[in-house]
Symmetry: C2
Subunit: 113 residues, 2 copies
DNA sequence: TATAGTAGTTACCCCTAAGTAAGTAGTTAC
DNA sequence: GTAACTACTTACTTAGGGGTAACTACTATA
């Protein structure tokens, strides 16, 4: 196997790990919403209007398990819960910026046409 | 709606467009494989060993429709087909680099632990 | 004559991601 | 007393993404 092929295989392997975290319809939107600051359950729901509470709850749990977000309970009245990005979550920002920047480019080139 | 919320909504909208193109198990691996040069059907299959010809064919068609890859037929014997990234496909490189770079970070932090 | 390589297609099945709707539990305001 | 807010959970259903296996069609080679 050539050096080039080895690098290609390595990148494919690493991308599979990344994909497992961001796969699905809702994970990236949730993470993007949280890059704008810590938010409560209902606030995220208001950002992503089409998401159901079931999916939001489920995907937040998955992101917690992958150490991307933290869940903090405040025993205020009524009880509020705050979700925040971990350092690992914040480390996705460059990637997200590039994704969004490419998305805008794509929209201009293909969607908007 | 505050300025911050407007920017958040804009980014969420744009990311949805990008996600539609890269969603699924196979699209990013295929694109990554093609960043290493134009390749034939069989070559991509050898890069991504787990992919079936059905899925490869199906996903290449979808990427063609989204103007990410081109399909070129050579009437050599036997007939060969070459897949290549379009300029729009190449414009994903920065994003892919960041994704792969983050994937490596994630692997070190969570998967490898 | 049959095996292997080119690049797919087709038919069938299955699982799970995602959607829908309703319920839970506690507090506060009207 | 009932509606509304907080943050979910649970049960049921469905669409389609993806897997498997076999088949097509043509050429070259042993």
């Amino acid at each position: 196997m050539s050096q080039k092929e080895k690098v290609c295989q390595q990148k494919l392997m690493v991308s599979r790990d990344a994909l497992e975290v961001i796969q699905g319809k809702w994970r990236l939107p949730i993470i993007i919403s949280l890059t704008f600051g810590n938010k409560r359950f209902g606030e995220i729901q208001r950002d992503i209007v089409e998401i159901s509470p079931k999916m939001l709850s489920q995907e937040l749990k998955a992101l917690e398990e992958n150490k991307i977000v933290t869940r903090t309970l405040f025993d205020s009245m009524p009880v509020t819960v705050e979700y925040a990005l971990t350092p690992l979550g914040h480390s996705m920002k460059k990637m997200l910026d590039e994704l969004i920047s490419w998305g805008a480019h794509f929209r201009k080139e293909v969607v908007g046409k």
